[in-house]
């Protein structure tokens, strides 16, 4: 046997008995960041494909949601900071090896691109704003300029959205100290999940039947890609280092087994996939609203479950005085 015990009683906040530094605030940000990425990409793609008539919501109205959703996400992220007054420090440095630093600067890039994207379709998507736009010469000029350069703006919005979506995954995967996150698949997985949730959002909100159907079809393909990426991620961990194999244990019989397989894979991926497949065949139309809601839920669960398991996965594991396992063992010997 080999047993390692902390004899001086370490109980460091947020570290013992296992690392738990990030909670729902960060998971919510990762989810909303991914959703924003998807919103920008789809709004841009629809603009490039000139789908104003077949898909009016996604091509002319969707873009407005990007800065709103992202701002909510950045607010929850801000709530997580422990040294809040120093938040400006993200912008007094650029650390090339830190994905979090890249992310901070990507977020700064997203807002202007997103605003240009909104202006390029605001008159068509939200006619109510025409009066306001017409009142000022500068607003008229700005909107006309964006409308004229709609294509170019879309071409910038796509890589910006992809950068936002993929960095959230790279951010976690760069932590070599957390075996569960240490997989290159995490970046693409989070990006694809972000696209999937955005497609679901369009299918949920759009009032046009053809657009709902189009995005249900798009989502179906993306969910299949996401399932493939989840499989690759699991293969990556299962064939990885001892620490990764141990970390994988938390979803193969460990404490996160149910939430990962039932809530994320089952309810968040497989069931909406099945519903969407039936919809394509003209069946189960009454469940049309359910699939996108489940996809959105699955998107959040993915971020939360990844965040939780990753933090608990570790290189150093000491039973401390707070270890439930150790207490149980002591009780057994006392009996």
């Amino acid at each position: 046997m080999h047993e390692e015990l902390l004899v001086t009683g370490r109980a460091n906040a947020l570290i013992d008995p296992s690392l738990h530094i990030w909670t729902w605030e960060v998971a919510m940000y990762l989810f909303l960041g991914g959703l924003t990425a998807g919103i920008m990409v789809f709004a841009a793609v629809m603009a490039l494909l000139r789908k104003d008539d077949e898909a009016p919501f996604s091509s002319t109205q969707l873009a407005l949601l990007a800065p709103i959703v992202l701002s909510v996400g950045m607010t929850t992220l801000f709530l997580d900071l422990e040294h809040k007054l120093y938040v400006f420090r993200f912008y007094t440095a650029f650390q090339i090896a830190s994905p979090m630093s890249w992310g901070a600067w990507i977020l700064i890039l997203i807002y202007p691109v997103s605003i240009l994207q909104i202006l390029s379709t605001i008159r068509r998507g939200y006619p109510i704003t025409n009066q306001i736009v017409d009142r000022w010469a500068i607003a008229r000029w700005a909107v006309s300029w964006c409308e004229k350069h709609r294509r170019q703006i879309a071409l910038v919005a796509i890589p910006s959205g992809v950068a936002l979506g993929i960095y959230t995954g790279i951010l976690l995967s760069a932590f070599s100290a957390r075996p569960f996150w240490n997989s290159g698949v995490l970046g693409p997985l989070f990006l694809v999940s972000g696209l999937s949730t955005a497609a679901a959002l369009v299918a949920l909100i759009s009032s046009k039947k053809s657009e709902k159907e189009l995005f249900t079809r798009i989502d179906l393909v993306i969910i299949l890609a996401e399932i493939a990426l989840v499989a690759l991620f699991l293969i990556n961990l299962a064939s990885g280092s001892a620490q990764q194999i141990e970390a994988l244990g938390s979803i193969t019989g460990g404490p996160y087994t149910m939430v990962f397989w039932v809530l994320f894979v089952g309810i968040g991926l497989i069931i909406p996939l099945l519903i969407e497949m039936l919809e394509m065949r003209g069946l189960m139309k009454s469940l049309a609203m359910v699939a996108p809601v489940l996809v959105l839920l699955g998107g959040y669960v993915l971020r939360q479950v990844m965040l939780d398991i990753g933090q608990e996965s570790t290189w150093t594991n000491y039973p401390t005085q707070y270890s439930s396992e150790l207490l149980e063992r002591m009780e057994m010997t006392n009996r």
Binding site: M1, H2, E3, E4, L5, L6, V7, T8, G9, R10, A11, N12, A13, L14, I15, L19, I21, W22, D80, L81, E82, H83, K84, Y86, V87, R89, F90, T92, A93, Q95, A97, S98, P99, M100, S101, G103, A104, A174, F175, S176, A177, R178, S241, G310, Q311, T314, W315, T316, Y318
Partner: protein, 180 residues
């Protein structure tokens, strides 16, 4: 870059915890938090058991992932050495460095919210003194010095004794050595 190392003789350490108390006193570490700790590792099958005591802390790695992943540069190397410090004025409390440490050696300093950690007592090292934990050890099982100087006590010990570091496979190249 000057490489400072701590060498701890597990054969003479008795696990008294004086290093922990010395650190808390010297650095005014807030109640309930610890920058160093003692681990008792027992292996074997009764009655053939061996026990090893290890005084653990930040490893002041030569390849510190906490410095690499810090988004603001708050986590930095002190004066071109391997001593990892946190600049509280640059720290946003994002906690990335806590997640980045494979040795779980970093902590949030409450209530202010910036990150705190072992500093190898750089304020003492500057004056040519040993860190508080090393200088207070009653069994004299801890040594501190520069690995660049072949004549230093730490260099000599690592040349003549069998040693290990914690989880070298992390790739962080830790600089706290344990004589075994």
């Amino acid at each position: 870059m000057t490489r400072f190392a701590m060498v701890i003789d597990t054969r003479t350490c008795i696990g008294c915890g004086d290093c922990v108390v010395a650190c808390k006193t010297e650095n005014k570490v807030p109640e309930g938090l610890n920058r160093d700790w003692v681990v008792e590792a027992t292996s074997g099958t009764y009655p053939d058991l061996t026990t090893e005591f290890r005084s653990e802390r930040c490893n002041h790695c030569s390849n510190p992932t906490c410095v690499t992943l810090c988004p603001t540069g708050a986590s930095h190397l002190w004066n071109d050495t391997n001593i990892v410090l946190v600049d509280a004025d640059k720290c946003t409390g994002c906690k990335a460095c806590i997640a980045a440490c494979p040795y779980d050696a970093r902590l949030v300093m409450h209530p202010d919210g910036y990150i705190d950690k072992c500093t190898f007592c750089h304020h003492r090292v500057e004056k040519g003194l040993d860190p508080a934990c090393v200088s207070s050890c009653p069994t004299k099982c801890m040594y501190f010095g520069s690995l660049d100087d072949p004549g230093s006590e730490v260099s000599k010990l690592l040349k003549t004794r069998k040693y290990k570091v914690l989880a070298p496979e992390t790739g962080n190249e830790p600089n706290v050595y344990y004589l075994i």
